[in-house]
Every structure is written in C-alpha cells, then in structure tokens.
C-alpha cells in the first residue's frame, strides 16, 4: 500500500508531446482507473509510473519519495501486461518465483509466497505447467500472481482483460474487484472499456489528448460530467447530443431551441448564458422515455432496435439531423419503421456551452 502523487508529469517523444502535465493524487489502497480513447496517453502514463519510460518533466512520488530516476523494481511496483508477458520457458511456479529469486529470497519463503498467491488465484494445481499449456484466463491469473508475490506498493494493470473472451472478462473483472478488497492494495488500471472502469474504480481518470479531462468517482462522472467529451465517454450506448441555441436562460433553467425544431427545457443553472448562444444538449438513452406528456418531446422513425431482453435500444431518426437512441423496457414491442414519440424530463438533460463545458445541473436530491 502506498500513495502516489503525480506533479505536472510530462512526456515527450523527441519533439512530440504526449502528456501535457498530469497532476493526480492517488490515496492508499485506492483503485484508480485510467480511461480514454486509444492514443490518449493512458498507457504511456502507466509506463511512466512503472519506470519503463523516462519522465521528461515533472515529479512522481511514491510514498512521498521522488522516484523519477529509480528503476522499476526499486519503485515497489508490479505490472500486469495486456499480453501477460510470461516467461515461456519457465513453469508457472518459476514464473512467479523469478523476481523473488533474483531479490535473494530463501527457498522456503519463495515456496510459501508463491503457494499462497496461487491459492488466492485458484491456480495452485497448475504450478508445474508451462505457460503454453494454459488457457488465456489461467495465463492472466499467473501474470497477476507474479505481481502479487512481489508484494508491491502499487499494482499497475495495462488492459489486463482485453485478451479474454466476453464471459471470462466479466468473471475476471469480478475477481479483480474482490482481490482488490482482499489485498487492500493501491492499483492503477488502464482500460478503454468503460464498464470495467465504472465497476472497478474508486476513482476514474478520463484522459483525452494527453490531458486529464476529468477525475472523480464513477457515479459523479456519470451524473456530473464536466465536459462533453466525458459525458459521451461514460455510458453505453453513448449520450445523445443535439445542437441548439439558447432561447431563454436563467439560474433556474434554460430553454433551448434545438436545430431539429424542438424546444427543450433543461434544468441547469444558465445564469452565464445569453439568449442566442450556441449550446449542445446531452441526454442519455436511458433518460429518454416513450410518451407524449413530457416537457420536451420528440417524434421520429425507428431505424433499428437492439433487443437485449431486459432492455431494448431503439435507434430513431427524423431525417433532419436528429438521430437519437433511447433505452426502453424490454417488454415494449416496437416495430422498425414505426413512428414513435418520446421525450425527457428537464432534470435529466445536460447542457454544454460552445466550448463543451458543462453547465451546473440543478438536480433535486
């Protein structure tokens, strides 16, 4: 367990700046998830933490010690790679014990630690196999076990579940969550899967173009995204966004004339806005509901439905730039090409100014 502090951390590859000054505080035992689209610098940030890449500028502190120039092993970190990176010519036991052996641990100590970790991960019956004789999920566990036996201050995970098939991914995700509670370790976890981020993280860091876009608890990111980017990144299917102009704005609500010709009521603090300002309105699919009695109402033709059983995603279009997705109850029967009417309550929508910054929502608690 350790706390990690990043102070204005920067990374340049030759002249290309990849990370533009990252500030982040990670508490003891916190599970921090870095998310973002590919190429946003999240993996690079993880490699800086690990010591696999040189830090160009700024400071990295682990337990209040600057570790900028320390090699990976000295930092007290352990990393689990997306591709597992097991030593192919060594048995599972040797794979897990290798780091300990190099560190000069006694044989009995090694045996004890490896067996304990193997038991925790339910791989104790595989200790004498070679990596190539294991399935993907088992290899992943060995890779995690290799990290556990070293008893690191910080665990670093680089998209550890991306190579697993869907059902195994869900299962391993649950186990990772349990493992975190059991070990109480500080974990930094990189993923592009926002479900993993939402379910595992104590804190989510959304990155975009080498900067931290927003950082906070999963639900606060969901309910109070600071920017349009975060709003669209968190949630699946992603938030519907409609362009419009402010018609009337006050501290208790804003009415927006949308480009598709609908007048929308949004419960946000609009005291900064002038009428005529261009804005973007965001509404999540799960906050749109069928009916005609709602303050803001749309009409559209159903172009596609995705029936998941518990819910149905309905894709609609009105042919004038208004393409909306709504999530309805799985019992609703909606035919493709039928005309439907749907809408949202004023408190459910988000509003973003022309720079993509969110206006404070007026949520009734």
């Amino acid at each position: 367990m350790a706390k990690v502090q990043l102070k204005n951390l920067q990374k340049r590859f030759n002249d290309v700046k990849v990370l533009h000054g990252i500030d982040l505080d990670i508490q003891h035992g916190e599970f921090v998830v870095l998310v973002g689209e590919s190429g946003c610098g999240k993996s690079t940030l993880l490699r800086l933490l690990a010591g696999l890449e040189e830090i160009s500028d700024g400071e990295l502190l682990i337990d209040d010690v600057v570790v900028n120039h320390q090699p990976p092993a000295k930092r007290g970190i352990a990393m689990v790679f997306q591709s597992y990176a097991l030593y192919p010519h060594m048995s599972v036991f040797k794979n897990m014990a290798f780091g300990l052996k190099i560190a000069g641990a006694s044989k009995a100590d090694m045996q004890k630690k490896v067996e304990e970790a193997a038991r925790k991960l339910k791989i104790d019956h595989l200790l004498h196999r070679l990596p190539r004789e294991l399935s993907g999920g088992q290899r992943q566990r060995v890779a995690i076990g290799r990290a556990i036996v070293r008893d690191p201050k910080v665990f670093l995970f680089d998209e550890p579940l991306s190579n697993l098939d869907a059902s195994l991914r869900v299962q391993t995700r649950v186990e990772l969550g349990k493992l975190h509670q059991e070990l109480g370790a500080t974990i930094v976890y990189v993923t592009h899967d926002q479900v993993e981020a939402m379910t595992l993280g104590d804190k989510i860091v959304v990155m975009n173009g080498g900067r931290i876009e927003q950082c906070g608890a999963p639900l606060s990111l969901y309910h109070h995204p600071k920017t349009l980017f975060v709003a669209q990144f968190i949630g699946s299917p992603k938030m519907n966004v409609l362009a419009g102009q402010v018609q009337q704005a006050s501290a208790t609500g804003v009415s927006v004339m949308l480009e598709c010709g609908v007048l929308a009521e949004v419960a946000v603090d609009g005291s900064q806005l002038q009428s005529g300002d261009p804005v973007s309105l965001g509404i999540r699919p799960e906050h749109l509901s069928l009916g005609t009695e709602l303050p803001t109402c749309f009409a559209g033709e159903v172009t596609l439905t995705e029936e998941l059983g518990e819910a149905t995603y309905v894709y609609t279009s009105n042919g004038a730039g208004q393409d909306l997705v709504l999530k309805v109850d799985g019992h609703e029967e909606i035919a493709v090409h039928s005309q439907i009417r749907f809408g949202f309550k004023a408190g459910m929508a988000h509003l973003f100014d022309k720079d993509g910054m969110a206006l404070p929502r007026l949520l009734k608690s």
Partner: protein
Amino acid sequence: MKALFFDRSQPATGGWQRGAQTGKALAVHAVLLTYTVIALFPILLVLINSLKSRKAIFRDPLGLPSLDTLNLGGFEQVLLRSDFGLYACNSLVVTILAVGLVLLLGAMAAWALTEYRFRGNLLLAFLFAMGIMIPIRLGTVSILNLMVQLHLVNTLTALVLVYIAQGLPLAVYILSEFIRTIPKELKEAARCDGISEYKIFFAVILPLLRPAMATVAVFTMIPIWNDLWFPLILAPGEESRTITLGVQQFVGQYVTDWNAVLSSLTLAIVPVLVLYLIFSRQLIRGLTAGAVK
C-alpha cells in the same frame, strides 16, 4: 509465434482439385529427391570406395564392395599408422570452441545492437553486415602477418580466432532478426521484476534464442569443419593439424593412397554428423508460444 506451416486444411471440393494437389506434391518431392540424390551421391561414393581394395576402386568406382573386393586396409592405415586421433581432436576442439564463442558473442552483440541505443550502434551493425559480404579469405596475408606477430602460428588459438571472425557477422545478423521477434513486454516484465540487464539476457532471452542459435550453429560449424585454407596457412604444424589437413598427407605428388584418403574422409563425417544431430534437435519451433497471446 504460431507456426502453422503444416496446418493447411485444404477444402476437399472436387476430385480434379485433389488430383492437382497430388500432382503438385509429387513434383515437389521429385525435385527434392533429385537434389538429395545429387547431394548424397559423392558421400555415398566415398563410403563404398573406402571399403574396397585399391584395384577395385579404379576398376569399378561405382560398384558396391563384394566379398572379393572388401578391404579395410585404408581404415587400418588411418587408425593405426597415422595421427588421425590427434587431427580429429584438433578439429573438434577448434570447431566446438569457435562455434560456442560465435554463438555467445553473436547473441550478446545481437542483443546489444537491437535492444540498446548507443552512439555507433548503426556503424557497428554496418560493419557486421560488411563482414557477411566480404569473404575473410581476402585478408589472409594480413591475418598471417598478425598471427606471426602474436606468435600464434601453428596453434589452435589462431584458427579459433579466425573462425570466430568468420562466423560472427552472419550469427549477429540472424540472431538480431530473431531477437526482434521476441515481444518487448517480456523484457519489460523482467525489468519490473527487478532483474538486471545481464540476467535478462542470460535467463530470459538466451533460452528463447535456442532455435535460432541452433540454425546459426549449423551454418557456422560446417564451413569450419571442412576448411582447408586457414589450417594450411596458419597451422600446418604436425601438432596442430586439423582433419582436412591431415588427410592431405595421403595425397602425394606421385602416389595417392586412395584407401587411406577415403577412409579418413569417411571417419571425418562422423563427428560433424553427431554435432549436427545435437544442434538440429534444438531447432524446435514455437518455443515462445504461451508467452504472449
């Protein structure tokens, strides 16, 4: 690495297609068989004639040894009345030392050139590439001069040194290519495990290089074992003769003891065959399977 060279599951759609497949396979086998016969024929000739009497060799060079013509005099001459044991020992020492050092130094150089960025990296790689293109024999006079000054003439050390220089460029080239295929996560995982760079090379990389090293060993070993040029120039002394040079004592200006020549050549095949079998067992594909998905 997924080596699926042999997993060509052909869709069996039509008879003519299967026929064409068989025809193709036959043609390929015919070509390969012809080549094998051509390559093995001289060796077979050496083998059968080494067992025949001198007259029989000249009367019917292609005939198999019969009861009348069977004659093991050549082997007697070689094994009992010459220093064949010493020559074979010299050859073995030179070959094993040279191949071993080429492998070790070649792997280390290849690792350094591919893994680390340092000043002169490109220049070094270029010099090694030159070594592949320019035959070392062009430098024979300078090498001889050098060996004379170092007082290494008529020693096995001279031969080992020259053969290392001869084998290193190709070894570095082949091993570098192979090292590039090793996933970089493996090295990074090792670094996170706190393993020193030396240990990464010896404990993680070297075991994975085994198939490539076996290839290099075979490529390096055969020319060294068969070489006549450098032993003749650098180590013609009685004590430091290698097998190929030792055979020459049976080739005279006026008379050649063909029985002895052919017998010693037959015997010279054995050690190199054993070495080849050892190395070729290491040519196992798919050793990195299971490292990364």
